[in-house]
């Protein structure tokens, strides 16, 4: 990695932002629409708590912490990982060949090829949920606890970013982007909105050891809420668990270089 890599990435972001600022009305409409859609989904969650009181002993504000963390994380990954999300278009048009010719890593170029900064509906919903739960919960907030929330969100963003990279890697073989990846991206978001303890064992294992969403959401949140006893893990573990998200992203980037070597142009 060269020293000016970050500077180049910053340049890519600045260009994308300047471009998107040309479409302010579209941005406002899309964000309002997204906010509205997620708000309606939250109505469903609220109705369930209104009827049943709690889920496995977790109250609505506690679940809102999970909900807020995972949605902010996903929103960040969606904004920055859009290049990978739209990668199949690059392959189909044969435009990936051009990236191969440039003296920079392809992962960096794909990462910089597109951003989505202005669709902030999900981010707003997540932040509102986080703020509400933080103010309602009887948690004695300390700098360490606040740092754990931030680390979990960033770790979660890394996990989702890694999933977008994997989705793009699959395009090296399939050309077309696979809808099945939505089950772990959007489906993962849905899953992580509730305490992982409610799911069947195989499902829990999948979202802990294969796609480590639990490490950046359920496990640290349990520590914040004083529920670490239910996890059955050493007490220090939740405080470092978000690092697993970073490790997951690094593994995914390794898989990217592996997949890239098997790339064959579509020739179009």
């Amino acid at each position: 990695m060269r020293r000016d890599t970050l500077a180049l990435y910053g340049r890519y972001m600045a260009v994308a932002l300047r471009g998107q600022m040309q479409y302010r009305a579209s941005f406002a409409l899309l964000s309002v629409g997204q906010f509205f859609a997620l708000g309606i989904e939250f109505l469903g969650i609220w109705a369930l708590f209104d009827r049943f009181g709690s889920i496995r002993g977790w109250s609505l504000p506690e679940v809102a912490l999970l909900y807020g963390m995972v949605n902010v994380a996903f929103a960040l990954a969606e904004s920055f990982g859009r290049g990978f999300d739209l990668f199949s278009a690059l392959i189909k048009a044969g435009d990936f060949d051009r990236l191969l010719l440039r003296p920079r890593s392809t992962a960096l170029q794909v990462a910089g090829s597109d951003f989505q900064f202005l669709r902030v509906g999900r981010l707003a919903v997540g932040l509102v949920a986080l703020a509400w739960s933080a103010s309602v919960l009887a948690v004695a907030w300390t700098p360490a606890k606040a740092a754990l929330v931030v680390a979990s969100v960033l770790g979660g963003a890394c996990v989702f970013y890694g999933l977008f990279v994997l989705q793009a890697v699959l395009c090296f073989w399939t050309v077309e982007s696979l809808e099945i990846m939505n089950t772990v991206t959007y489906g993962g978001t849905e899953t992580a909105q509730y305490p992982l303890g409610i799911y069947r064992p195989w499902f829990r294992r999948f979202f802990t050891f294969v796609v480590p969403l639990a490490c950046v959401n359920y496990i640290p949140a349990s520590a914040l809420l004083g529920r670490e006893a239910a996890l059955g893990v050493p007490p220090w573990l939740p405080w470092v668990a978000p690092l697993v998200g970073v490790a997951f992203l690094l593994v995914c980037l390794r898989v990217w270089t592996f997949g890239e070597r098997r790339y064959r142009s579509t020739g179009s």
Partner: protein, 265 residues
Amino acid sequence: MKAYLSLFGARFKTLIQYRAAAVAGFGTQLFWGLIRVMILEAFFRNSTAAQPMTLSETITYIWLGQAFFAMMPFSANPDPEVRNMIRTGSVAYELARPLDLWGLWYARAVAARSAPTLLRAVPMFLAAVPFFGMALPPSAWSALAWALSMAGALLLVSAFSTVITISLLWTISSDGITRIMPALVLLGSGLVLPLPLFPESFQAVLRALPFSAMADEPFRLYMGHLPPEAAPAVLLKQALWTAAFALAGRFLMARGARRLVVQGG
């Protein structure tokens, strides 16, 4: 009438070819269904009080929702081909045909809502009934009531999505409407959460909307949560809303065609 039926037949035959897409869609729906079943199981385990719907009814409801998800007006709505026609200006050819344009687009909508649904619903039944706790209708009468109301739902959804397609004559891109409308339909049809599980006051509002007749009421006829005797009322509701959307669609289309500016080139 024959022209519209044969148009429907042609579109249906085209759309039933997309089997790979159906397999992918089936996998996704199955996964989502599992998540939703596990979430609701956990909520039900939390409370011993009697609920307006039992857990096994709720599970069947969820799987019906997954099976008929493609019938709901989300994907391919507004009609992507009509959207393209309007953007490129070739909608002018449509206007020149010696047929009623609303009927034409309605036939397209019925095909777009039925063929992909058939491809996804059949495997969903085959998977969910033996393996994932989906029940069959308790009686032949319930099954009949469900089948009739499902057909009614198809006609209703198609009339609704035709109105959305016609709105393209004004908005051209339809980005705004396609963001907000699905959330409303999801909520009102019971696909976010079965309607009987909402608080009472909330249910009253949702029942007054047309969306509950698109999924919730047929589903409840299926499992006997609504007795078969309730079927005529459901069918009447569907017929009235279908007529309302058809009239609205025709009215909008007449206005739209008069002021339509064909995007040239």
